[in-house]
Point group: C2
Chain length 409, copies 2
């Protein structure tokens, strides 16, 4: 029910709007980002949508429904990218949503519900150091303090105003009219490709917990200090990294997505001939089931005590830098999406999202769910990120059928 060529054309056109030396970069709040939006807005208009920028700086294309009072079906994703990558991350979902509106128009299908296609502002961690600005902002979930965050010579508040938002009413945003939200996204993982599935129906968006750990040893001369008289912070931290990996691999074998990664790791004094005195590391934990994260956190507390004793170092209490709970997809929408997959003949499976998404924020105020399409080798947030256009078109067809199903029910 959708036109794959049109999808390819739009994704190609947006890929052309990139920092020339850093494909495929189109950072939120940049002139390139606005250029991308100008393109998307024109395509929204060509699809018969009425466009606006909401208070949170989201670009929205609207099509009124036949009946009033049923509320709005919202579909979309984001068009900003991380630095140096992301040809499909967010873009695929934004264009697939647009294609739903176009297909409805092509077929002269009128919905009872109002329909809105959204390009959320700044889903990726932005120059202001925070992410999901548009989806949080649309639903009144931006902490007030964020508005005065600074990047270069402007505040986030100014940045939102520059893209056309209205910071003065931002904190009071609510969308009580939302009847439901759907997002298509590339999987950003290898599972669908490996299992030869077309669509992942996202049961839950994993909670993300970030834990900072500081290991303190003693800076001694690397040449003269006997091996058995050292308090080497790097050695202790290495044991912690390995133990976290083993523990996470164990927890990943039980039902529910689980992952834990040490992604940031910095040593002091980082000098060739000095025994490392300090390591600060950051654990990124993801759990589909909250109790898994609770178990992991308790395990971490015990592990750092055990390692501190074994290696003669001091490890301060782990600091929970951030801690978000998992967000389940609305059960009714998961069923809708499954029916839609069956209608278009898409091979599907249920799966969790290990990555955070705008859907998690919209889900706080309305029934929301998302689907994944496969991406090559699970690579994402890099120049090599790739999704086959036929897979995206299949996903757009699922969205199309699901929106019609939501409209009827």
């Amino acid at each position: 029910p959708v036109n794959a060529d049109r999808i390819a054309e739009d994704i190609e056109a947006l890929a052309g709007i990139t920092e020339p030396d850093h494909p495929w970069t189109r950072r939120a709040f940049s002139p390139l980002f606005l250029k991308g939006r100008t393109y998307i807005e024109a395509r929204m208009k060509a699809a018969g949508l009425t466009t606006r920028i909401d208070a949170a700086g989201n670009l929205i294309g609207r099509r009124a429904g036949a009946k009033s009072g049923l509320g709005t079906i919202l579909v979309g994703s984001h068009s900003d990218t991380v630095p140096d990558g992301g040809r499909f991350d967010g873009i695929a979902g934004t264009i697939a949503a647009l294609e739903v509106a176009r297909s409805l128009k092509d077929r002269d299908i009128e919905l009872d519900h109002d329909l809105e296609i959204v390009d959320f502002l700044a889903e990726e961690v932005s120059i202001f150091g925070v992410s999901c600005i548009g989806s949080r902002g649309m639903t009144g979930q931006i902490p007030e303090a964020w508005l005065s965050r600074v990047s270069g010579d402007r505040t986030l508040s100014q940045g939102i105003a520059e893209v056309g938002g209205d910071p003065s009413v931002l904190l009071a945003q609510k969308r009580p009219d939302l009847a439901g939200f759907l997002e298509l996204h590339i999987e950003q993982g290898p599972v669908l490709e490996a299992e030869n599935k077309d669509i992942g129906i996202v049961t839950a968006i994993a909670g993300i917990t970030r834990i900072e750990i500081t290991v303190e040893g003693r800076a001694d001369h690397a040449g003269t200090t006997p091996m058995d008289r050292r308090a080497d912070a790097l050695v202790a931290a290495s044991q912690l990294v390995l133990d976290i990996r083993s523990r996470a691999a164990e927890q990943a074998k039980t039902p529910g997505h689980f992952a834990a990664t040490v992604g940031e790791f910095r040593i002091e004094p980082n000098a060739a001939n000095v025994v490392p005195s300090k390591v600060v590391l950051l654990i990124d934990g993801r759990a589909e089931i909250r109790s898994d994260m609770e178990e992991f956190l308790a395990w971490i507390d015990a592990a750092v005590q055990r390692i501190a004793e074994a290696y003669g170092v001091t490890i301060k209490s782990p600091v929970r830098v951030s801690d978000n709970f998992p967000t389940p997809g609305a059960p009714v929408l998961l069923e809708t999406l499954e029916r839609a997959c069956d209608t278009v003949g898409a091979k599907h499976r249920r799966m969790a999202s290990g990555a955070g998404h705008d859907t998690a924020w919209i889900a706080k105020v309305a029934p929301a769910a998302m689907i994944f399409v496969p991406c090559k080798e699970g690579r994402s947030h890099c120049a090599e990120e790739w999704a086959e256009n036929d897979d995206i078109a299949m996903g757009a067809a699922v969205l199309f059928e699901a929106v019609r199903d939501m409209d009827r029910n």
Copy 2:
């Protein structure tokens, strides 16, 4: 036979010549360094020494011997410090050497040999990124390429000229007149203190080998990539750090000093939600016995292959960034030093130096040896570095007796 108060007074005076906010910093080539030397030179003159700066920028105080043709007995150390520390590292040995000259003068003792007290230029890794400039330079061991190394707006060549050296004749320096060299230094390790010894007689200065290892994994999304599909460079590197530690601890148990430390460690991309794709780490290995280092290097080659396979990462061949052989102390001088210890009643033991020293460079052209005095808790290269003045005075007395012994033999 020495005056402990004079030693304390001089060390105290030099401690006063420090960057005020970074005790006890007196970096080679800085105005403070020259101020320190002005003090030392005045004290050399007061001790009846004739002072000069040699081609390599070493400050030398000379006292002619009674007989000509016997050559020069050289005693000394260095007065420069690392950033943020080193009240005694080098300074203790420079002042102890000066005290030997003073005591000879006080007692009207004339030596047959010429005697020179030396303050070597830039023993510590300097702003030009290289160390032991004075001891290498005095003996024609500075690689020509070093002279054009740059720091700020000057080359090493200009830096040496500014302290009074003569770069135009530097590469041709030789000291065929050297009859022997002695250096006193703080141990920079905990052994003498722990064993309640006064003096360590250094059997050998360990060879220092630096090995750079690059671990390459794959940057994947930390949220979405299943635990069993990762090539995590940090996990593999952590295993390597732990294995190096275990191996070095084993090798340290066999005769001969051995230590290995990972002191530099840097991960990429170092982002919270990305599986680390790369770790570059530097191993600092120290061996008193060369074959121990050869064994360690062979073990490293095997270890990286094993770890690369086990963790699905790529580890390029370890790069030997630098590789210096151990330098034994001249056996005749070790005996001289032992006799001197017995004469002054110092409790002594033989031990290796895990740290590099100027002595290693002078040993290439003349009989050379060194003694250690205890330092508190083995701490060095930090503001807390401390040595008891009585211990330094005891060491100076050993030097005094040893110089007289060398003069007679």
